[in-house]
Symmetry: C2
Subunit: 315 residues, 2 copies
């Protein structure tokens, strides 16, 4: 099957047709319109086979996850997703594989009304780069740089589940079905991110682990943070499966959860509760921002210790 | 060197600071503003080592070309370039290599006032995906679908030079310095593309060879084309180096030239001459659009033959 046919047979088959897409797939570039008074938010993330997902991950899950990690970046900015471009490098043009890949990609795209507007299909080692665009009202993007002393620190959902699956895989054991889903099908917190506009003072998505990602907020905001380690939210399943020490270790340092970590002033507590009331998204307070640099954790026995903020390193 | 340091040491070192970039590299996503009454144009192209450039290509040339092929797509739309995202997958974090790569990338970016606003750095087989954004005034984007019978067909610059370099490489010979430059440092015809707004009826950049790319225009516009093979522009150097038959073959089917092929109604001849008068960009008429489907060439001895429009195929 030729590249042109591939594009027609798979990538042009999406059902979503947004009115702001003037020209989609099939020309040298796409043409779109950004609504007035909105800023454009652009994120790009690459998944490399064997690095970002195990080689035997199903193509459906790869398609889903390639888009999910990008939507998670938009969520962390408080942006409303709109369009995606897909640059896919494939060892060969396996139609069954591509069909499943597109199914995973388009399933998630449909949930967020995201239209695929272009990309590139090339031959080589399996690598998937997705670039997404979304909107925020002028000046309302959530960044990493405006956490202030006195702000409370929150996370959405539960931490460590993807890490538990990765640990099982690295030890040659099969993760449970739930764990595999949490690793391969992270739910980008898009609605939560949008709800946090004008509430959160800073936000980031947890891709490298809470410590590393909260570390980016405190460093880029030039503040410090103190978190209560026993308060880090994990699922009942995870709590039952590991020791209390492992539970904290996973919640702090395991990546790939794609929950949001955000800070908000005390004065916004009520607004926050209201904003999340209608969302199917748990959240909880895990600590506080203060002026002393660094990330500290209060251990279950009341001691305070400095937490290493180094996350996953490619090189 | 850690990923974070890599980004700070290399990718954040660009001199260009556009006022429409509200938030650049260093957060979950970039935030930018699109000018009022302008549409956003988005293109994405991937270069895979050993497929899109020979493995021994200098990092400076890879950096240049990765951006150039994308700017060429914007040129084919008549768009003014603005921002770029860079997703680079590297076998290792070689600082000398990255320094040179950025030099090539930023050199071309500076020529077009393009700011790097984000991307992703990952570990794996060398692959470079660039996504670029630019603007066109509402409704003025050049597409492939509006060529009309009676329109004249033009190309910018000279064809076949990159193909001659590729042929030398595939035969184990070293191409001349000029040929290597034409292969590794194609000049994206950005100013020409912008000048063609409201003049060209259709446009495309020649990445897969004139026959394949003009083939896209005639197919997507549901017309046909007849071109005069002896009129296909090649450099004096190329004309001297090959037989008349090879000259036509290279001009028709060699890719990687990144010139523009466009169509324009007869009534626009004067406007076209005026628009190009101040540009340092040669152009010439090579044929005409008519209603009979397919691409035909008039040979130097006056015969007409159907031209194969199949271009480079990845799979």
């Amino acid at each position: 099957m030729r590249e042109h046919q591939l594009i027609q047979s798979f990538f042009e088959k999406q059902n979503i047709k947004r009115p702001d897409v003037i020209l989609g797939i099939g020309d040298d570039a796409a043409v779109v319109t950004v609504p007035e008074k909105q800023q454009l938010v652009v994120a790009t993330d690459t998944l490399v086979a064997g690095v970002h997902f195990p080689e035997n991950t199903s193509p459906e899950d790869i398609g889903y996850k390639a888009l999910a990690v990008n939507l998670s970046d938009l969520a962390a900015m408080g942006a409303t997703p709109a369009w995606a471009s897909l640059a896919i490098t494939l060892p060969n043009a396996d139609e069954t594989w591509l069909h499943a890949f597109c199914q995973g990609f388009f399933e998630l795209a449909a949930q967020h009304n995201v239209q695929l507007i272009g990309g590139d299909t090339t031959q080589g080692p399996l690598t998937v780069t997705v670039s997404v665009q979304g909107f925020v009202p002028q000046g309302e993007a959530l960044t990493r740089t405006r956490a202030k002393a006195g702000d409370e620190i929150y996370v959405t959902g539960y931490l460590g589940a993807a890490g538990l699956a990765l640990r099982a895989l690295s030890e040659g054991r099969a993760p449970s079905e739930t764990q595999t889903t949490q690793l391969n099908r992270p739910v980008p917190r898009v609605a939560a991110g949008m709800a946090l506009r004008n509430i959160a003072s800073a936000a980031i998505d947890i891709s490298d682990g809470l410590a590393a990602d909260l570390g980016h907020i405190v460093q880029q905001s030039q503040v410090g943070a103190c978190i209560t380690l026993a308060a880090l939210p994990v699922s009942a399943q995870l709590a039952a499966a590991v020791s209390p020490e492992e539970r904290i270790e996973l919640a702090l340092h395991a990546g790939d959860d794609y929950e949001l970590c955000f800070t908000a002033p005390l004065a916004k507590r009520e607004a926050l509760a209201k904003a999340f009331a209608d969302l199917d998204c748990p959240y909880c307070c895990i600590g506080v921002i203060y002026n002393e640099a660094g990330l500290r954790g209060i251990t279950p026995d009341g001691e305070t210790s400095l937490i290493e903020t180094r996350g996953y390193e490619h090189f």
